[in-house]
């Protein structure tokens, strides 16, 4: 049957849950492209024959083949576009610098062969990052606003986080620099309904630091910090 391979590509996408970037099915793509080539060649030959010898009975099969070609094309572009959406999600999830393991996954799926697919994906990704960055920079008359932050409505001013890996120094907006060390004890958070005089006291009592929620959102998503829900 025609188009089977192309539909198989789409099925593959269905099976994979959101947020995952599966290995690129280079083989599947190649087979679809081969099928398209064969269909096209056959059509060309039939069209010539129909024209020169006036064989009108060939026209229906030409039409069927053409429909298959269109369907193949559509499936392939859908497959490719879906990958872009998954790659796009990475930018929103991890910020502009991807963690090493994600990068690795994006490039290494073809065993480090920098194929045209991988290259194009990386190119698309960096261009997308550029577009998004210049969009965010130009917001509010050139003032700039990072809209990949503040993904969830703020419930409290501070949150409790645990540090999962060494991250080094981290500056919060009032200029204080804190050191994020692996397993450094829980950074205390203050719920919004607790009076702020209480939190001032707890600052002086314990050596941990307060992190404003909006400052560490990205660190949590990158897996540096862990939000402790108590």
């Amino acid at each position: 049957m025609f188009c089977e391979k192309a539909v198989e590509l789409i099925r593959e996408l269905h099976r994979i849950s959101d947020g995952q970037l599966p290995a690129f099915n280079e083989d599947g793509l190649r087979q679809v492209l081969q099928e398209m080539e064969a269909l096209y060649d056959q059509n060309q030959a039939d069209v010539n024959e129909a024209k020169s010898e006036g064989r009108a009975e060939l026209i229906p099969s030409i039409k069927v083949r053409h429909c298959c070609l269109l369907r193949d094309q559509r499936c392939v572009t859908a497959y490719l576009y879906d990958r872009l959406l998954r790659i796009r999600a990475l930018r929103w999830e991890y910020g502009s610098v991807l963690p090493a393991n994600v990068r690795f996954h994006m490039c290494a799926e073809e065993n480090f062969r920098m194929t045209i697919v991988v290259l194009s994906q990386l190119q698309w990704f960096s261009q997308y990052k550029k577009s998004l960055a210049s969009f965010m920079r130009s917001l509010g008359g050139g003032e700039g606003l990072d809209i990949t932050q503040d993904m969830k409505p703020p419930k409290s001013l501070y949150i409790e986080v645990r540090c999962l890996k060494d991250h080094g120094e981290f500056e919060i907006d009032d200029g204080t620099v804190i050191l994020l060390k692996k397993n450094s004890q829980v950074v205390l958070g203050v719920a919004w309904d607790i009076l702020s005089c209480v939190c001032v006291m707890s600052v002086s009592l314990c050596p941990q630091h307060f992190l404003p929620r909006w400052k560490c959102e990205q660190l949590i998503r990158q897996g540096v910090l862990e939000h402790v829900v108590s």
Partner: protein
């Protein structure tokens, strides 16, 4: 919310002498209105870049005010929280617009192209630039990976046909802000007597977006 705001930034509105003077509270109400409408409408609405700009100005102003407050002041954390909330609404608003632009980019650009002289633009200049880049970038990618290797008559994709249009027939919840009379509910069924309703002020409805789309953009109803 409003007292906190006017407290923190009441003097920022005096220096810019625009025609429509808004109090910070009105400004935030405007932002919230735009945010909810944008969040719940299936299609991209008109851009509100003046509101965005004013709110950002306001935020900078509030941040600056906060710097002057002593550390540990109870008022400071109230203000901080307020800033966080406003920034969330603003970011969320811009995000949902950007998402729609990405989702419907060919249609959004097409509408922008066919827009008449005096008509207000759907996209802000920044969003327009973004949409154009997104289209070009995506086309380049598709071309490089697959289209280039397809038969000669299949090397282009009509994005307008390939990308689905926003579904204007989806249903939305709305609250009526200004009384409306004779709203056609089912415009297509012309064989029966036309089904019209009056929308009372303050009432809430669940209706098809298409029928009330003009009311959303005129501000007569609020999506909820």
């Amino acid at each position: 919310m409003s007292d906190v705001l006017s407290d923190a930034g009441s003097d920022s509105n005096h220096d810019d002498s625009q025609e429509d003077v808004m109090t910070p509270a009105e400004l935030i109400a405007k932002l919230e209105e735009a945010w909810l409408n944008e969040k719940f409408s299936p299609e991209l609405l008109e851009n509100k870049s003046e509101v965005v700009e004013c709110v950002m100005e306001q935020l900078t102003h509030m941040e600056a005010n906060l710097q002057r407050v002593k550390k540990g002041d109870a008022k400071a954390s109230v203000h901080r929280m307020e800033i966080d909330r406003i920034r969330f609404v603003l970011s969320s608003y811009l995000r949902s617009r950007l998402q729609k632009i990405e989702k419907f980019f060919p249609h959004v650009l097409e509408r922008e192209k066919s827009r008449g002289e005096g008509e207000p633009s759907l996209l802000s200049p920044e969003e327009f630039a973004f949409a154009k880049e997104y289209l070009a970038n995506t086309e380049t990618y598709l071309k490089a990976v697959a289209l280039k290797r397809m038969p000669p008559n299949l090397q282009t994709v009509d994005m307008l046909k390939a990308v689905p249009e926003p579904c204007l027939d989806s249903f939305v919840f709305l609250r009526v802000k200004e009384r409306q009379e004779n709203i056609l509910v089912e415009p297509e069924t012309d064989d029966q007597r036309e089904y019209v309703v009056d929308l009372e002020e303050g009432s809430q409805h669940l209706m098809r977006y298409r029928t009330i789309a003009p009311l959303v953009s005129s501000g007569a109803v609020q999506l909820i």
